[in-house]
Symmetry: D2
Subunit: 338 residues, 4 copies
């Protein structure tokens, strides 16, 4: 079978992770080139995993006729632009989330994709997590009947640096966006309306930067079900990632992953392990799984499992959540789309 | 020590339960009389547990100078009236929840109590449950630091009869009222505002009766924290009663009680017991514990652990929740109090 | 229905517990009298729960023609003697375990019971525990197919006083006897042979008193299955009481009971409650349940659920275990019976 | 840093696994050659992961002066011979377990290793499992004080084919050998004596082949502690791999790994996932971890974590277990060594 030749644009933490995952897991995929504005800084790393071509200009990848697909792992503000360029060049595209913070830019990018007829997948990796995937499958197989209530607990182990907060697009677009995607994924329904209670309980500096760090977000879904997300930027016990889907025939929950199942019974109590702390560790396998499906979509010429619409919708919900917080009222997603 | 002499008004399910709990657990308390409009129907039962005086008119209890305290276990619409009468007669009062659905009636009753200077406790028994009490104590001892998010899952095993639904005051005042109390109890804070998403997903007949059966209720607390309650009238796997309090130093959760800890590993999976199904079974010990504190308050002349205010506030929140559902907006509790 | 009139012989901790359980739970049972060598010391307690007749001589109970049944709760060395006397007087008998440490004395007592045709139940209360009963029922209903391996973990929270150790009959007859009963109960099979590894790891004083405090005891059952019991006199985290029955179609386990289901996630870890510490607390309900069945056996004239043979067999196994430890070899139960 | 050049002898299931793990995980290790008696059958696979040299004669590896270390993954009866040959050629050796079933052959091999001064590690991969390693570390850090009782539950999901049973060396040397190693690993002590109860409860054909399929194995350790292993060749619910170490300051347990943490609450019960079914899946990461330590031992010139003695001792215990079963008595390990 002919190998898929890919180029990776952006070699930060996530770009490197994808590169290494590809080298270690996909024999039928070849990383022909990688581009990063700091090309010289990644040279050694790239060579060590067998990548020969290292560019500072992403266009060297986009213009390479041998390259079948690109992974866009650069900074968020470049995602839409690079998507458009890559689509025009006929490359299949795996784009890290979010596509953009601006709805029109996203739509522009998705139109370019559609016009070019290339595959396009957004990096909502959590859909490929063993726990959430299992919930998804059980819901689809009717194990809980019709979904009535979806609950997502999503708490970071520690707040990001304030410099990051300032450019993050705000908690709803930076962190909750994954949870909005999870609600859509697990419920199989679009979101109709959102209402937010949020505040600054973790760190006043986050508030000074114009953001919030704690939130309870209620959602009304088009299929009649309801959802609620609770977020915190700081759970001292680790990265807390749980969901529950409750329905007419039962309920499914998933709890946190831990490093081991060891339980110590001693005078102080019965003590088990804290949740895995770091998201790259917690969601390790999901990053491989999402690429597996992306490459399979290319090979079999089928629709990727996370589409452009899946990239757009959580941004719309995030923007509606922002508006809800500002205007202290429930906000319909259609208000944002308009 | 002198025995406390009590009278019980109302011998339905809960009145009988209290009577039997007293006989079996409180050597220093004597049930001098019980009153029920169907006095003849409870005669045999009353005798079997050693209660000699059975009246059809509650005033026979209220007018008995030997009786120190009354337990008001009659139908909700009589609670306020009987409270006023008992207070005027100088009896200490244990009143089942809710005091009334009407705020002014509640206030009237509480004024009578205050004027008389008698002890008054409301039957929010869940505060005395071993699980929730443990959470309460751990929060008070600072185990999770400052509370940021309180989550209450409260789902009935099956919907009540439609005839009951019609006179129940609506789900928020009938069922969620316990959860509103739980939020106040665990957070140590008053509620400032409430926002409701609710609908009819369990049984259309409930909708036809003007009520809802599924809800996600967000609350903003005066101490800056947030809370969320999710309710369903029908969890097919049993009575689902869980809480979580998340704060600056950690999180406490409690899960459901089961009949045993047996776990069967077999070809079908690893199967453990469903939650206890019936609320009287689930909260069995809490009904004894609440009376223990009530009698102790009388004996030691101290404030009972669930006060008149604790009886009033959840009704206010429930009414605000109703208004939020009707008006599709967040409603401040102060709007109801006014 | 005519009340069952009973007398209680011995008002130590367990005698008092039974008395109070009867007063609180069995309306159809009347404690007509209680006897204790220190009659004067229990007088106030007896009156407080409504027992009028308090004797220092147990024969005042045995000779009372109105008394239908006796509960023998006196010291172990009197069990067989009182059983014989009560049987001769035609009383039904509930006897605390063990009947005796001497096999011939036990047989003598059981012969007297048989001759008199009275009901006889031994106080192996753990059979009535909600967890172990559930395992028993699931095994009987074929949930795990044929039993292959039975595992019993039984560890005390702290070693008994050395004075008690000296007269206890040794750990196997004092503590493990319950576990031997549990193996018979759960497997539905007699024990054929036993092999013991045991030593003194908790407290040298126990060794000096001629006993052991830690043991791993293997058993070969007549139905072909195997069992293993592990004992310790000191589990610092509480009273550790677990079983597992593994068979051809699966496995059932039960874990420890705790005061609450509260789980604290904090920087130190994820901490849940320790097992209940005190056996009277842990097995609280089982003491009521065993009497319920005893009284039912009397009323319905059926066989009690724990028979004389059930009282004898664990003593035989215990003696075989002792012999195994002394002679460092597997010992057949038939060697003891002979 | 200079790459470690290795040769793999034997390309069955485990040889292939190691090869792929090395390619995917160890950049500093190069598989220079692989040898298998069916060289032609593995050619395509070898090429696909980049191994150029594929031999049918293992001596082509042993005689290659460029090769630093060999992985012996061939059939058990060749382990000792190949170890001797490799040692004489000055190669470091990673040898799959068991080294041999014959004690003298093992000793011969270990002498050759010692004489040559090469590194030698035995493939007891479970020591590198995340769960067992955590127990090991907690025990070493004194979390449970002095170990008193070690319990190992080890049950296969299904019995091996009868043809395999016949050449397996018997359950104790084929399956329990891992558990004997686990007891030594977790207790930090040698085993002094063993006593076995075992039988044929799973499949009569196993009995006809001269083996057993169910066992309870008690062990007396040199440090005064006791251990018990329970084995079954067939746990219908999956691969059951649990341990507990109980000591003077507490107890540590580990439970089974599952594919996800999903729990379904429905009318049938509260259902969670079965243990992972297949040992290669269950112990996946441990196979990488053991090689990591082996390569590190070579690079840093330190002792490997599982030594020749660690390879020898479990075989001795296994042979003592066999003898115990045959002679129906406890057998000292020293009886076998003599």
């Amino acid at each position: 079978m002919k190998k898929i030749k890919i180029g990776i644009i952006g070699a930060g933490r996530i770009g490197k992770l994808h590169a290494e995952n590809i080298v270690n897991n996909f024999k039928n995929v070849e990383i022909k080139a990688i581009a990063d504005v700091y090309a010289d800084k990644i040279m050694d790393w790239a060579r060590s995993i067998g990548i020969v071509n290292v560019y500072s200009d992403h266009r060297d990848i986009i213009n390479d006729p041998e390259i079948d697909a690109v992974l866009i792992c650069s900074s968020t503000n470049t995602h839409a632009q690079f998507t458009i360029e890559a689509a025009k060049a006929g490359k299949h595209i795996f784009c890290e989330k979010p596509i953009d913070f601006d709805v029109n830019r996203i739509k522009e990018a998705l139109e370019a994709v559609e016009k070019a007829g290339v595959k396009f997948q957004v990096g909502f990796n959590r859909r490929f997590d063993h726990n959430f995937r299992k919930v998804y499958e059980m819901v689809r197989r009717g194990k809980i009947g019709l979904p009535h209530i979806i609950k997502v607990t999503s708490r970071d182990p520690q707040a990001p640096p304030i410099d990051y907060v300032k450019v993050s697009g705000g908690m709803f677009l930076d962190m909750t966006i994954h949870d909005f995607d999870m609600v859509r994924y697990l419920s199989g329904s679009e979101v109709e309306e959102v209402f937010v209670y949020a505040g600054v309980l973790v760190d006043p500096a986050i508030g000074e930067a114009g953001d919030v760090d704690t939130a309870v977000i209620s959602l009304k879904l088009k299929n009649g079900a309801f959802a609620v997300i609770d977020n915190s930027r700081k759970a001292v016990y680790g990265y807390d990632q749980r969901v529950e889907v409750f329905g007419s025939k039962g309920s499914i929950t998933v709890s946190n992953d831990t490093d081991s199942s060891a339980v110590l019974s001693c005078e102080e109590g019965v003590i088990s392990e804290k949740p895995k702390y770091f998201f790259l560790e917690r969601y390790k396998d999901s990053f491989v799984e999402e690429l597996k499906d992306f490459f399979e979509a290319i090979e079999k010429d089928i629709e990727p499992p996370v589409t452009g619409i899946d990239g757009l919708k959580p941004v719309l919900i995030g923007l509606a959540a922002k508006k809800s917080l500002e205007e202290k009222r429930p906000v319909k997603i259609s208000e944002i789309e308009a």
